[in-house]
Amino acid sequence: MAPDLTALLLARIQFAFTVGFHIVLPALSIGLASYLVVLEALWLARGGHVWLDLYRYWLKVFSVGFAMGVVSGLVLSYEFGTNWGVFADRAGPVVGPLMGYEVMTAFFLEAGFLGVMLFGMGRVPAWLHMLSTMLVGCGTLLSAFWILAANSWMQTPQGYRIAPDGRFLPVDWWAVIFNPSFPYRFTHMVLASYLSVAFLVGAVGAWHLLRRSAHPASRLMFSMALWMAAIVAPLQILAGDQHGLNTRQHQPAKIAALEGDFTTEPGTPLLLFGLPDMQEGRTRYAVAIPHLGALILTHSWNGTVQGLDEFPPADRPYAPVMFWSFRLMVGLGVLMAGLGLSSLWLRWRGTLYQARWLQWAMVAMAPSGFVAILAGWVTTEMGRQPWTVYGLLRTADSASPIAAPGVAASLIGFALVYAIVFGAGLLYLLRLVARPPAIGEPGPPAGVPVRSAGITPAPAVAAQIPAAEQPNTIKGREP
């Protein structure tokens, strides 16, 4: 059937919209889960209530973010079929098993141990609670592993053969999973999640320092976040550079589009500014630094980067958006590294907690990691266009036979529901972090239900123990 261009565009918008809302939440879960593992381990190793207070403070944020991540993720597992049925039919034999493994390894692990993590402290042995936090953390990373393997396979497919009916059939699972772009994408995404959470945590710490919070946890958040920024942001720039080299090798059209390069010449310049024009096939108002593009992308002075002119117009990704989303991501990354390195200088000078400008800067950067993730996601996914399976299956040939009004109606439904649901969730998260951490920070309110098939006895047991007999939450590890 002839592709209905309006329906196709609406289906793409719908997928971008639902993934865009969703992706922020796993990033939050991945980063926070690992942060919580570190906090709990430090608490067990060193004692003292600060670590535990911080653990409980962020645990509440984690629980709300996790719940929203679960429901927005459920939508995605069906959207491949509702809107992208042909893709599901053709690529299902390869992509489906990877998503099946995501459910079986990651979701079940998370659902199993989230309850202990949220409500089990003081009711199960310390080692079991630590283990549960670690397993939930593992779950978030496993989930990223499988879903990024599937996504990377769509970007750089290998290990398959094409059946006579057009289906992609797996030949070598190892090759499918560890496809060329997967290690780079996985590293880049995990580091991005860590950085996003570091800047969120740092901003909350900075905000309470600016509000003169007396609790040492505010300083600790600020300091830990800046250590992360100082170490991880430069690593992320390195990882991003390597990811870029890998992309140039496997998806040169994506690189050409995000750099706004329409012409192929040795010593490719780097464009700092410009308005790529797909119709005219050039970037207008370009501000260029000669040779720098070649230096970055080929690591040589006179290297040649393919321009979009080497690709037929029908195969070119849409440069005007990618050019700017890429610059937004890189700009934020450089700012993060800059703040991290500044903090090292201030730390060495012994004035880390006195520099007000840094605190304000951290507050301003609170959402920076999540914005950078979205910008990077837009860049890499638009750069995969016009294909769903790169170079093999066109997006226009992947959609379900759903006409435009149907897709439009469902898009409106998603927009309305997500606005209400995620608006309320965001409001609640902001309320949580607007309050400074307290000494003897309470956990999630006891008995307010667990949202998971946890194996914790917490609410049931708590209900049976009179309040006076309940274990003192911060006793035990106090020196």
């Binding site: 459920l74 949202r451 049931a460």
Partner: protein, 336 residues
């Protein structure tokens, strides 16, 4: 004989769907019973009785979707577009309902609490209706040309699918009511016992009508049910339904705590077995079998290895969770 992977996977997928239906079924039923139980403290008890387990229950739905994509991608790619409006509405309803669990305890005003209660009720109801419509629509058959859905948007909206939707609302309501009979006490429990009685009769009626109607949809279904050798398999089903119905009625009348819920589950298992007898080996009636829809052995085998280890593990987690949260849920117990 080599391993028949499509058959194994059909069994696994059927198991995941049944696990979902019975586990999330009583969750959704409890949500719908909000329509009859309006006192805030009763609603808190009702939510607390399912809150520890609902997310794990819903994970089976994700497994159903993911498993179908992995093992029967053709069926997945036909069913989802064929029931597009119903699937989208179900997902949106589940989003609303899922966060309502979380948010109704976070709302700071009584109005906010009522709003999330309403979202919980309507979300549960809409999700159930949509599941019933999909079930009915699937049974009556899906128009397929080549490898794609070829019908209209509303093909699935027929008297039969509406009947299935009503039946599922009643059925999930019955599961929810008997669950609450098991997990609550006092006045709330007594009222749930009464709800369960009329829901039980209504569901029995729905089972009868759906059972008599289904063979009329497709001559193959009729042959399966009323001709030898199928009848050897099918004839015990109505008898077992009757026995379960008697057990349910007896348990409800004689103050049993747990048995009404178990007999209601038996009804669902029997209904599911009946579906299996009708459909086998079809996955998308009237034309597509599990063999035609199967992904290649390389795909099915790859996931099967993991599934054989990981699904039993998940069952252990689930069992432990239910064991830990056993016992009556009391009013006010959850709040400090």
């Amino acid at each position: 004989m080599s391993l028949d992977l499509p058959t194994i996977w059909a069994g696994l997928l059927a198991f995941a769907v049944l696990a979902y239906v019975v586990l999330d079924g009583f969750d959704l039923g409890v949500g719908m019973l909000f329509a009859l139980e309006t006192a805030p403290e009763d609603r808190d008890v009702m939510v607390n009785s399912i809150a520890p387990v609902w997310d794990g229950n819903e994970t089976w739905l994700v497994l159903g979707g993911g498993g179908m994509l992995a093992a029967f991608p053709l069926a997945y790619s036909i069913i989802m577009p064929a029931f597009y409006p119903a699937i989208i509405a179900m997902l949106l309803a589940l989003v609303f309902r899922g966060v309502a669990f979380e948010f109704r305890f976070r709302a700071t005003t009584p109005g906010g609490r009522r709003g999330w209660d309403w979202a919980f009720l309507v979300g549960s109801l809409v999700a159930t209706i949509c599941q019933g419509l999909v079930l009915g629509g699937l049974l009556q058959g899906v128009r397929v040309v080549g490898r794609a859905y070829a019908g209209g948007w509303w093909d699935w909206l027929t008297p039969f699918s509406l009947l299935c939707a009503v039946g599922l609302v009643l059925g999930y309501g019955l599961l929810g009511a008997t669950w609450l009979v098991w997990r609550t006490e006092g006045v709330l429990q007594a009222r749930c016992r009464r709800h369960a009685q009329w829901l039980g009769w209504a569901m029995l009626a729905a089972i009868l009508v759906v059972s008599l109607w289904t063979p009329l949809l497709n001559p193959n279904f009729a042959a399966r049910w009323f001709a030898w050798p199928g009848i050897a398999l099918t004839s015990p089903v109505p008898i077992l339904v009757a026995i379960s119905g008697w057990g349910l009625w007896h348990g409800l009348r004689h103050g049993h705590q747990l048995t009404p819920f178990l007999w209601a589950l038996a009804w669902f298992a029997l209904g599911f077995a009946g579906l299996g007898i009708s459909l086998w080996p079809l996955i998308v009636p009237p034309g597509i079998t599990i063999y035609a829809a199967a992904s290649p052995p390389e795909s099915q085998g790859f996931v099967l290895v993991g599934a054989l280890v990981l699904i039993p593990l998940q069952l252990v987690y689930t069992a432990i969770a239910y064991w830990i949260f056993r016992g009556k849920v009391r009013a006010g117990a959850g709040y400090h």
